[in-house]
């Protein structure tokens, strides 16, 4: 088992290094002076510029530059943004936390709705409820997420006025930054009107979360439905029925567990779609997440920010996927068989 762990760890390290290399090369690919792109310091700022030029061995080999860059990354110096002039590391931290919060809530919501409905649809295969759930899921799956967000805004924000249009929390509230997760921060802070703030933050969360969650839950529904159908048609389930086990026993003890196992890897792969949708939704709702930050950065041609943002998102995605993959390997008893030589 340690071997599996090592394998995944080495894979992670490998891909991360490839990514950092790519990020480094972007400095040269982006238009403009490479050193400026790397650090965010422009040529006008003579002193800092020459200082950096020396430490980056600008006249030396590419490899030494890359090595220095890597060192800076580990230390936490991710450069300075063009537009704001502030160090990127902290901005990225905040935005990343906001994005993770939004995506996490959407994911949980999608699972809570999608999994049980998928199971119901799979068990009542070819019956009316199956068809209606399937049609609903096709519709939810085909709606462009930005259109859905716009329509939700049109109806619920402008027409009915139930939910706010944008942002994370009302402008009147000033929540101190502790963890980056706004609901948690509200609870941890000692503001006088905590419940108001909490309620306000929740209202701001509803529409963005719903936009992402609707699309994702349809995918969860379809995947779990397909898995349930396959499991229920398998030989051992039929054999269990022939043994005389009751429907409930067969379902709960054997059906559910076996159906859940193949779902996990498929859903992990959907994580990237979730992120793409989250990025778009963030822009529409002006949610201060990393997606929004990246897109604003590209509008303003803020290259250091783009690079740093890309690196942050990729690191997040890769770490998530590889650790999920590792967890699946460990949980699934069938996959625990020793690996053979073929990859």
């Amino acid at each position: 088992m340690g071997k599996i762990f090592l394998r995944h760890l080495s894979l992670l390290v490998l891909t991360l290094s490839v990514l950092s290399l790519f990020s480094f090369s972007l400095a040269f690919l982006f238009p403009g002076d490479p050193l400026t792109n790397l650090t965010g310091v422009r040529a006008e700022n003579q002193e800092a510029y020459s200082h950096l030029a020396a430490s980056y061995h600008i006249n030396g080999s590419l490899f030494s530059q890359y090595w220095h860059y890597l060192g800076q990354l580990f230390v936490g110096n991710w450069g300075i943004s063009f537009s704001s002039g502030l160090p990127l590391a902290e901005e990225i931290n905040r935005s990343l936390a906001a994005s993770i919060e939004l995506s996490a809530y959407a994911l949980v919501f999608a699972f809570i709705i999608g999994l049980p409905l998928g199971f119901v649809a799979g068990l009542k295969h070819h019956k009316i409820i199956d068809y209606s759930l399937l049609s609903a899921s096709v519709i939810g799956y085909s709606i462009p997420v930005f259109w859905l967000a716009l329509i939700l805004i049109l109806i619920f924000s402008l027409q009915l006025g139930w939910f706010p249009l944008s942002g994370r929390i009302g402008l009147l509230f000033d929540i101190p930054y502790k963890s980056g997760f706004i609901l948690l921060d509200i609870l941890l802070s000692d503001l006088p009107n905590k419940s108001d703030a909490f309620y306000n933050a929740l209202r701001h969360l509803v529409l963005p979360t719903l936009s992402i969650a609707i699309v994702t839950s349809t995918i969860v529904l379809r995947t779990s439905r397909r898995s349930v159908i396959e499991v229920m048609n398998s030989d051992y389930i039929q054999a269990a029925y022939a043994r005389g086990l009751s429907s409930r026993q067969v379902l709960l003890k054997h059906g559910v567990k076996n159906a859940l196992i193949p779902i996990l890897p498929l859903l992990v792969m959907q994580f990237t779609t979730l992120l793409t949708n989250a990025m778009i939704v963030e822009t529409i709702f002006s949610w201060p997440g990393i997606g929004n930050a990246l897109i604003q950065a590209i509008y303003q041609r803020d290259f250091p920010a783009i690079r740093a943002g890309m690196l942050a998102v990729s690191v997040l995605v890769l770490t998530f996927i590889i650790s999920m993959d590792l967890m699946i390997r460990l949980i699934d008893p069938i996959r625990r068989r020793p690996e053979n030589a073929t990859a």
Binding site: L26, P144, I280, I298, M310, I322
Partner: protein, 297 residues
């Protein structure tokens, strides 16, 4: 439809005919196929069908509602937008752009991806396993992110966004092809061909590729829906097609300003994208089910 049985012959349909038979039993899928064909006709004959030029502004008819509204005008079937441009023509051209470009991109990515995947699949050994794992991990990066980076390098515009999206689609095809090729290589009929002395390319083109065809088509429909979504998303974010180009996503973002006064500016382009997505997804679903049942029965 019973065939005239004069002789005691058995009618054994080919796999392709089998798949088609299964497919036609799914009414929703067939309807969607007609829809897709309709869009293809739009792509080819769009300019002939559109009543107006999509960029032409009619100053005296700004924000005219669609025909079914009481204030509407029969001249402008879907109404006009904030600059007086006819929505119907814009939508026809928009569909043409989005659908046609997606189709083009998918075909391009398919060829490149299959070629790369075939090479990766037919080769074996440590080098390929290493490459494969790397590829899998890199496939995890969101397509929008890849698109953003490429646009940052190359600049905005429709052509650049096309490059970006095709580059984002290729890894999927490579992965799928590689898996399929690996799978088929283990089959006995490939072994038989190898023992007969067939060269690698012969095995690939004659034994493996025909068996991959259907799966590739399913993958292509998936890629197509991703491509449509991404093109319109980039257009919406003003990173791809720029105004005044009649791309559906760009139209949506333009319509945002007047959304409250003239909701049809948002509803109609979005509905067009939705319709494209639904039809492609249903066709893909139908194909997948048909393939599955064909293999079962």
């Amino acid at each position: 439809m019973p065939r005239l049985k004069l002789y005691q012959e058995e009618f054994y349909p080919s796999p392709l005919q089998n798949t088609w038979k299964e497919f036609t039993e799914n009414h929703a899928a067939v309807a969607s196929l007609y829809c897709v064909l309709f869009f293809i006709i739009l792509v080819i004959f769009g300019p002939l069908l559109a009543p107006f030029d999509p960029l032409q502004q009619h100053i005296d008819s700004l924000l005219v509602p669609p025909t079914w509204d009481s204030n509407g005008n029969i001249l402008y079937l879907f109404g006009t937008d904030g600059l007086g441009r006819d929505m119907l023509s814009r939508i026809i051209y928009g569909c043409r752009m989005t659908f046609g470009i997606s189709l083009l991109l998918v075909v391009l990515s398919l060829f490149i991806g299959v070629a790369l995947g075939a090479i990766a699949g037919m080769s074996s050994g440590l080098r390929s396993s290493f490459l494969n794992h790397l590829l899998d991990s890199l496939m995890a990066i969101p397509t929008l992110l890849i698109a953003i980076i490429i646009i940052a390098i190359l600049g905005t515009g429709l052509v650049n966004s096309m490059w970006a999206i095709s580059l984002a689609l290729i890894p999927q095809f490579v992965h799928q092809t590689r898996d399929l090729v690996r799978n088929k290589l283990k089959k006995e009929y490939v072994l038989a061909a190898q023992l007969d002395g067939a060269s690698k390319s012969h095995i690939f083109f004659n034994s493996i590729l025909p068996n991959m065809g259907e799966m590739l088509v399913v993958q292509a429909t998936l890629a197509m829906s991703t491509a449509i979504l991404d093109i319109s998303a980039l257009g919406f974010l003003n990173l791809g097609a720029q105004a005044p180009s009649p791309e559906l996503g760009a139209m949506l973002s333009e319509g945002l300003d007047v959304a409250y006064l003239a909701p049809w500016n948002i509803a109609l382009p979005g509905a067009a994208i939705f319709l494209m997505m639904v039809s492609i997804n249903l066709v893909g679903d139908g194909l997948r089910s048909a393939l599955r049942y064909r293999l079962l029965r």
